[in-house]
Amino acid sequence: MSAAQRPGSFGRRIGMLGIVVCGAIVAVVAAVAILGSAVAPHSAGAQDVGNILAGPSGAHWLGTDSLGRDVASRLIVGARSAFVGPLLIAIGSMLIGNALGLLAGYRGGRLDAILMRWVDLMWSVPALLVIIVVLGVLGTSYWAAVGLLTILTVPFDARVVRGATLEQAPRPYVQAARTLGISDTRIMFFHIWPNVAAVAIANTFLVFAASLTAMAGLSFLGFGLAPGSPDWGLMLAEGFQDLFQNPLAILAPGVAIVLAATSINLIGDWLYERLSSRGASR
């Protein structure tokens, strides 16, 4: 029976159409993030001084902000900082977290103990608070925030993969590989990993979505890009005072964040269902 037909399964709940819509949203954001200012109707910093806080019009689809800048263009250009940082965080913590999780789960022993205590430590500190304190002391920087979030996310990835690896390691197929004299590295990455990949990949999508909102939150609080940069979190912060003159200036980045994060999460769920039903035996 395929995953899509199991009662109550994800496939039935939102259907293939939902996944296509989610995929389209993420694809559009990704495309815009790559093309950036090339597809924006105006320059992100250009001020139309005569048209401050204007509503939507032919020239400014989403109106202008308090400095007369085009909201639509800033939304488009801001996609890059909204998307790229979280993507790097997700990929980075997947690579490091999966490697550590496989090592801890397969080798066990002291390495496992040390890694897991570190994970416990990370669980017990509030990540955003740590970032705010560190950035507050060292000075704010987008890339520093990306780096810090990656380091703070790795333990979560590592724990998930370690758990899945612990379940696989005693299985006869792993033991058979050991008796054949296949190296531990090969066993971990080529034999075990494909069997924990569903969990690992789904988790990466969750991390991606979570860091997208986290990065926007940091920007909103002023711990991301410099003020004035086109960035979804900053647009939220800057549009705040003029909520009633041009609500689109704040609604547009807000909706963009929610849509992107939700779509990424749903795609992650869908991929998990697909991947985990693939190798199911018996």
């Binding site: 037909q5 299985r171 006869p172 054949l180 004299g181 190798g279 035996s281």
Partner: protein
């Protein structure tokens, strides 16, 4: 013998079990009909996928969600399939009891055994605490547990046999007139199996209860059943009295099943096999269910499904060609059971494995898993290790392939000291890997589910010889040598049947051209008809490649069939060893005698 009398108390007619799905219903049981009279023992025998367990659950009204039964199951003038859930509930336990296969999961782990039983006692009659405890203790005594402290123990504190007894006591607590036992002894050790079957049989006699025994094991069925129904791919293909069925099966499948099981009293030249694997009910609609695997199948067998008809007094068979092939079947039986000469243990060959006084104590365990075990194995020799679960036989195998390290003692394999694999020089370790390989018990988990067969075998080939050339040709050779077509390389394991998977697992072990294959219960997870194929394959490979085997099993018949010498292990020690035929004919150690006795009583009524 029980007095079997009168009218049937349970009648199953035209039972059909289906799983409705969007793309059309999947048939699980296509046509089953049988009846049970008071005091009678009826066996339902079939391999996996035959639908035997779901038949039992349909009688109890316990079919899993999404599965529906049609037809009729008549009991006491009512059709059980039409009853409402409350009506069924009043029936379960009181009129029809059920014993399940796994004694460890059928008892609530958070309840003490006393509570479990007290709960199952008939309601209505109010009892004081003391009285109830006495009643529960009496019920336990009935199943052979006289130790009252069991009442205060939790199921996990009991052995498998004890748990199964408690389960039986619970199933019988409300004095049902029909007991359905679904593989009640399969999860237990050979010796315990016997005891459990004896308990069930004794209680049945004492209470005049009817028993429906569901099993995959013909030997078990023959040992206690009056009548046997043979199920294959969802339909009933033969039915008859147990003794008559035993002496002359009247359907090629039943005969194949009987002959493919290694006989418990002799070694035969070669086991008869049934080619292929058990099909699903849907694959065989519109033809004889067995046609695809039957050596006598003709055009008429493939054209339509032959009905189950009376072919002799009290004998039903669904074989359309029975009158023509009956004598041929008899001839085949005679040929198949000709006793083969016992192999002469080869004394001259070089010593390949020498294990001296090996001990293994697992951390936290008080009792050593291995307690001074010494064994020897010569090149090209097939040696068996027999024992029940917990005897240490698997631990010994794992130590020999370096998956576990011995606590003390010495091991030499092909001249290399192998008691501490991690400490070996890489060159020595690689050499050892090329000498010893292992085949695991469960073919369902011993192949990587996410990788194709080809990938898995390629890994094995290159692990042994990094510079291996024409890997693809080697791969095809390997698959052919275990009787599979090279096309299998493209498939993932989940497309393969259990027997095919075990063939791949054997091919993987052969990839490094080992001189010793350690086989840990390699056929116990397989269907009987497939077991014989794999046992014959081991035989062929041995003749072709002069491989030595260390064959670990609980099954004495298997040991007799495939080994020259045997070690009997009990509680971490070797209690007896010698030529297999001699040990089984004339066991000296007390424990071996129990084993031999247990396995021969199952075989002969």
């Amino acid at each position: 013998m029980t007095t079997v009398g009168g009218e049937p108390i349970l009648e199953v007619e035209d039972l059909r079990i289906e799983q409705p799905r969007r793309e059309g219903a999947r048939t699980i049981v296509s046509s089953v009909a049988f009846s049970v009279r008071a005091g009678e023992t009826v066996g339902i025998v079939g391999e996996s996928g035959s639908g035997k367990s779901l038949t039992a659950r349909a009688i109890m009204g316990l079919l899993p969600r999404g599965v529906a039964a049609s037809g009729a199951i008549r009991h006491d003038g009512r059709n059980l399939l039409e009853l409402s859930e409350p009506q069924l509930r009043s029936l379960r336990g009181r009129r029809i009891g059920l014993i399940m296969q796994d004694p460890f999961t059928m008892l609530n782990p958070l309840q003490r055994c006393g509570q479990i039983l007290a709960e199952s006692l008939p309601s209505g009659r109010s009892m004081g605490r003391r009285e109830r405890r006495l009643e529960v203790a009496r019920r336990l005594a009935e199943v052979g547990i006289h130790d009252e402290t069991v009442l205060d123990r939790y199921p996990f504190q009991l052995s498998g046999g004890m748990s199964q007894r408690v389960g039986i006591a619970a199933a019988l607590a409300r004095d049902p007139e029909i007991l359905i036992a679904d593989e009640p002894s399969t999860a237990l050790d050979v010796a315990t199996q016997q005891e459990i079957l004896a308990v069930i049989k004794r209680l049945q006699d004492a209470r005049g209860m009817a028993l429906v025994l569901i099993t995959h094991d013909l030997r078990v069925a023959f040992s206690i059943c009056d009548r046997i129904n043979v199920l294959y791919a969802g339909s009933l293909i033969e039915a008859g009295e147990a003794a008559a069925l035993h002496s002359e099966p009247l359907h090629p499948y039943t005969q194949g099943l009987l002959l493919s099981e290694p006989p418990s009293d002799r070694r035969v030249q070669r086991l008869m096999t049934i080619p292929g694997a058990v099909p699903t009910a849907d694959q065989v609609t519109g033809s004889c269910a067995f046609a695809s695997r039957c050596q006598w199948a003709a055009e008429e067998c493939r054209r339509s499904a032959p009905p189950l008809v009376e072919v002799a007094p009290g004998r039903l068979s669904a074989c359309a060609r029975l009158p023509e092939i009956r004598s041929e079947m008899a001839d085949l039986r005679d040929v198949a059971l000709v006793e083969a000469e016992a192999p002469v243990p080869s004394a001259g060959a070089a010593l390949l494995v020498e294990v001296r006084d090996v001990r293994k104590v697992f951390r936290g365990a008080g009792v050593p898993a291995l307690d001074g075990v010494s064994i020897e194995l010569r090149a090209g020799e097939s040696v068996g290790i027999v024992g029940q679960s917990g005897s240490g036989k698997t631990t010994l195998a794992r130590i020999l392939v370096g998956l576990e390290r011995a606590s003390a003692g010495s091991i030499t394999i092909d001249g290399v000291p192998a008691d501490d694999w991690p400490a070996l020089r890489p060159a020595d370790r690689r050499r050892l890997r090329g000498v010893v390989q292992m085949v695991f018990q469960d073919p369902y988990s011993s192949l990587n589910p996410m990788r194709t067969i080809g990938w898995t075998l390629r890994q094995a080939i290159t692990a042994h010889d990094r510079a291996a050339r024409n890997v693809d040709a080697q791969l095809a050779d390997l698959l052919r040598s275990v009787g599979l077509s090279p096309d299998y390389a493209r498939h993932r394991p989940q497309l393969l049947s259990g027997g095919e998977r075990q063939r791949v697992a054997i091919a993987r072990a052969l990839a490094v051209r080992p001189r010793l294959l350690i086989c840990d219960e390699p056929v116990s997870a397989l269907d009987v008809s497939v077991q014989a194929q794999i046992l014959n394959l081991f035989d062929e490979l041995r003749a072709e490649r002069q491989i030595a085997y260390l064959f670990i099993t609980h099954d004495l018949a298997v040991v007799r069939q495939v080994t020259d010498r045997v070690y009997v292990m009990h509680r971490g020690r070797v209690v007896e060893s010698g030529a297999t035929s001699a040990v089984l004919r004339d066991p000296h150690a007390e424990y071996t005698r129990t084993l031999v006795a247990a396995s021969s009583t199952t075989a002969d009524r």
